[in-house]
């Protein structure tokens, strides 16, 4: 029976309902017809015997994001959860990593800012549904904020000492971007690989997936965004204080997340792993501090560098610079 036949049967059923029932047999016939063609009358395919009620609901909902349609969609997705995940060449595969709402992203950011010893970021905040939106855009914001505030310190320094030559320093955007993105992708890859290799030692707690590790690292970098802005204040001990505070919060978030997984392992491996994670994080923070916020002298005693490309180079060049040339 095609849709035309179903439509005819539905029209018949509606006419039977409209006229007063003359006997029990016609009533039964109508209910049988409606039971046979649930799709023709209702909107969600649930096959109920109250078609008028469902049609009224569809009329009221109107526009594209009505609440009734959302409830029906969630019912459908709940039913379809046994369906296979789409292949990695389809768009839907990548869409599943961006399946977050605004309030969820804000909640995850808050969770990374305030790490608590008992609360595992992956289990409590991510609930094992990692997203790529947070890590990607937090890294992009951090890269641009680093470059912009680094340039702003040069502006402020030039105000104090007019002999310093101001330049937009656009290449720092490239350097910042490459450094941050490499950190958030390569270090979780190494960590995930290591944890997979040690999987056989643990019995109870399974390791995290690669995306969950990337997610943890990405969200843990959020605390550096306000810190970098605060590094504009040209007071050295205050800068170190802010840096240490941000590093402590960020590393604590990482350690509390990794501790349940690493606890099962031998004590030596656990200690080495956690200290490596904290050390790499500290290296990133100090590297950024030295490269983007080179400390400039407060009084113009040093010879004014007009011919050289960079205003001052008091420190040995850190490794990110070698990526530029």
């Amino acid at each position: 029976a095609g849709p035309a036949a179903a439509g005819r049967r539905a029209a018949q059923a509606q006419r039977v309902w409209a006229t007063p029932p003359e006997g029990a047999s016609e009533f039964e016939e109508a209910s049988n017809l409606l039971a046979e063609t649930p799709d023709a009358v209702t909107t969600s395919g649930s096959g109920q015997l109250t078609p008028q009620g469902h049609v009224a609901v569809a009329v009221d909902s109107g526009g594209s994001y009505g609440a009734e349609e959302e409830v029906e969609e969630s019912d459908k997705t709940a039913l379809l959860q046994e369906k296979q995940q789409p292949g990695f060449w389809t768009f839907g595969y990548y869409q599943s990593f961006f399946d977050v709402d605004t309030c969820q992203v804000l909640d995850r950011i808050r969770g990374s800012l305030l790490p608590r010893p008992g609360h595992n970021f992956v289990r409590h905040r991510l609930r094992n549904r990692p997203d790529l939106y947070g890590p990607f855009w937090i890294c992009a914001t951090l890269a641009f904020v680093l470059a912009v505030t680094g340039n702003l310190t040069l502006v402020l320094a030039q105000r104090r000492d007019p002999s310093i030559h101001y330049s937009p320093q656009f290449h720092k955007v490239t350097v910042a971007g490459i450094t941050i993105y490499c950190y958030v992708w390569l270090v979780p890859l190494a960590l995930w690989g290591f944890l997979q290799w040690r999987k056989r030692v643990r019995e109870r707690v399974g390791p995290y997936t690669f995306l969950e590790t990337v997610c943890v690292y990405g969200y843990s970098l959020f605390v550096f965004i306000p810190t970098v802005v605060l590094w504009l204040i040209p007071v050295p001990w205050l800068q170190w204080l802010f840096g240490a505070l941000a590093l402590a919060l960020s590393a604590a978030s990482l350690v509390f997340t990794l501790w349940p997984v690493v606890r099962e392992d031998t004590r030596l491996v656990a200690a080495v792993l956690l200290s490596t994670v904290v050390l790499l994080h500290a290296l990133l923070a100090t590297g950024c501090k030295f490269y983007f916020f080179q400390p400039l002298p407060l009084e113009p005693l040093a010879p004014p560098p007009q011919a050289t490309s960079l205003p001052l180079n008091l420190l040995p060049p850190p490794t990110p610079r070698s990526q530029v040339t």
Binding site: V55, F91, F98, D101, V105, W137, Q169, F170
Partner: protein, 236 residues
């Protein structure tokens, strides 16, 4: 379908009810027109079926495209909730704006320092790859806007910032100083806000309501970076 079920009691009339309320009492209903015009004449600018554009002069073709681009510029400068940018998208406008901006922003060949301003290619790449990334982001979040429509809107909304760049270059011809900087800062901030408002007016409706902020934030970052490049431009 739902509307037919609702109003199944009365015949399908498109005229307003109070005017013809007593119509059923009169038997000469066929002399009074009760049908309305339900097709909106919008055939005026569908030109893909018009095969004579191949024979027209080059000036006609160019002027037509320029007029379309100019009309969209007006829509960006006075943003209302309209569909023109989305319905008849084109990428000529974004290309013109991006090339103009990159030409004005690039550092001069004399200034070959490593840490000068951006090169032409850097500005071009930032604008186009930034727009592509934002479009991909909004599609991945579940927005129902097409790829090129979104590129078109983001490209056209760079117009206020290009105007800001022109103004900054003119202001920089005067003597440098804090007043010079404050004027430029004010102009760039105003144009940045204008760009954000214009692009939000066009793009916001295509996003699911609980993810609007997630889709708008990258647009904010994109225009912020372009504004920063404009503000820090120093002629050598």
């Amino acid at each position: 379908m739902a509307k037919a079920a609702e109003s199944s009691g009365e015949p399908g009339t498109t005229s307003p009810r109070p005017l013809f309320a007593g119509l059923s009492d009169i038997s000469i209903s066929q002399d009074i027109p009760v049908e309305g015009e339900i097709t909106i004449p919008m055939r005026s600018h569908i030109r893909e079926f018009d095969s004579s554009t191949l024979n027209e002069s080059v000036q006609n073709t160019i002027m037509r495209d320029l007029k379309a681009v100019g009309k969209k510029f007006m829509h960006v400068l006075y943003p209302r909730k309209s569909n023109t940018l989305l319905r008849d998208w084109d990428l000529w406008g974004p290309l013109i704006l991006c090339v103009t901006l990159a030409l004005m922003l690039q550092r001069s060949s004399v200034d070959s320092e490593k840490d000068g301003g951006p090169q032409f290619a850097e500005v071009f790449v930032i604008v186009w790859f930034g727009a592509v990334t934002i479009t991909l982001n909004s599609k991945l979040l579940g927005g129902n806007i097409s790829f090129f429509q979104s590129l078109c809107v983001l490209g056209y909304c760079i117009l206020p910032l290009t105007v800001a760049m022109l103004v900054c270059r003119l202001v920089l011809l005067a003597e440098q100083g804090p007043i010079n900087f404050m004027v430029r800062l004010f102009v760039v901030i105003v144009m940045f806000t204008w760009s954000i408002v214009a692009s939000t007016a066009f793009l916001a409706d295509s996003q699911p309501p609980n993810r609007k902020a997630l889709a708008i934030y990258p647009v904010f970052l994109f225009y912020f970076v372009i504004s920063w490049m404009i503000l820090t431009f120093t002629p050598q």
